[in-house]
Amino acid sequence: MPRTKRKASANAGLVREVASPDGSIAFALKRASTGVHVERTQQLAEGSRVMHSTLILSIEEFQRLCDSDPLRFEHPHTFFLATKACHELFDDMG
């Protein structure tokens, strides 16, 4: 099962973290003043690590990002949980 957890960040924003069971892909999502900050970290087979950090302004934008992600087929449940977390963060913003 993918892992999800919530934790309070240093500046009081709630961070939602989702990771695939093998740790190859992980998302950290945090509410920002203009949207949701998304950190996508991928561990590559040879030990390298690639991290993308971006600000998402709408849930549609996050959905588009997930739809473009080649790992969505390998870890569909992780992407489902990340999308759910993103929805919750946008909902919290009202």
């Binding site: 960040s9 003043s33 900050h37 040879e46 390298s48 690639v50 991290m51």
Partner: protein
């Protein structure tokens, strides 16, 4: 363009931006905020403001650290279409990317059009950027003390062909370089903090690694710290395990690469 901009917002000529009253002052005020940014969300908000102040539609900052021949770490701060980065990553072009290679060996900010493309992969990488709205780009290296094993580079982009190929680019050069270096410093601080917290590295550990990096022997380190040689050896063993490195020399090198010492 991203969802918050319209065609009307997009400058068609860089000089339209650089000739505005207070252009440089506004940009400097924004760039100064990078150092105060607490986390990734805050620094991205600053990067979004900075790219607009410098007349760019898109901005990406890439930070690269190589631990050894097999272990690399790429970090992308994306104030642009993030799907560009996913498509780029899928192709695995990093090692031969013309813009990254330029930044690895040069410190001068230049329009991307002046960087020669030698391979098919390099031409494809530039074409991919154009597909995602970066038709013209300004490549701004952040010189570091880490040599080829550590680099930072800021890419400013525009959907207007030849946008960064005019004399107006001279007006953003110094500012873009400052932004790139501030972003790099911010990354180094973030990574340093992350590693120290995650691995619970103490100030004594950092002192130990710094002495190893200076080339001191176990005996010399023990004398310097006022402890026994076996204590030095066991501390190094513990640190190598924490960093998942084969020996103390590699551990100290890794600590230096990540700016811990």
């Amino acid at each position: 363009m991203n969802s918050s901009t319209t065609w009307a917002d997009v400058p068609r000529d860089l000089a339209e931006v650089t000739l505005q009253d207070g252009f440089a002052d506004r940009a400097v005020d924004i760039i100064k905020r990078v150092g105060r940014a607490g986390d990734g969300a805050e620094v991205l908000e600053v990067l979004n403001s900075a790219k607009r102040a410098l007349g760019a539609e898109h901005a990406a900052f890439v930070s690269y650290v190589r631990d050894d021949d097999s272990k690399e770490s790429f970090r992308f701060l994306l104030a642009c279409d993030p799907t560009w980065c996913l498509a780029y990553q899928q192709q695995g072009w990093y090692a031969n990317d013309a813009w990254l290679l330029y930044a690895a060996t040069n410190s001068e900010p230049v329009p991307a059009s002046s960087i020669p493309l030698h391979t098919r992969g390099q031409r494809q990488a530039v074409a991919l950027a154009a597909e995602h709205g970066i038709v013209s780009a300004f490549v701004v290296p952040a010189p570091t003390s880490g040599g080829l094993s550590r680099l930072g580079v800021l890419i400013l982009g525009s959907s207007v062909e030849g946008y960064f190929d005019t004399e107006a680019v001279d007006s953003i050069k110094v500012l873009a370089r400052s932004l790139s270096m501030e972003l790099h410093e911010w990354w180094v601080r973030q990574v340093r903090r992350e590693i120290i917290q995650t691995n619970r590295i103490s100030p004594e550990d950092l002192r130990l690694l710094a002495l190893e990096r200076q080339g001191l022997t176990t005996k010399e380190i023990a004398e310097e710290l006022g402890v026994s040689t076996s204590s030095v050896d066991s501390r190094f063993q513990r640190l190598s395990t924490k960093f998942n490195m084969p020996n103390r020399r590699a551990t100290a090198r890794l600590a230096a690469e990540y700016g811990l010492i």
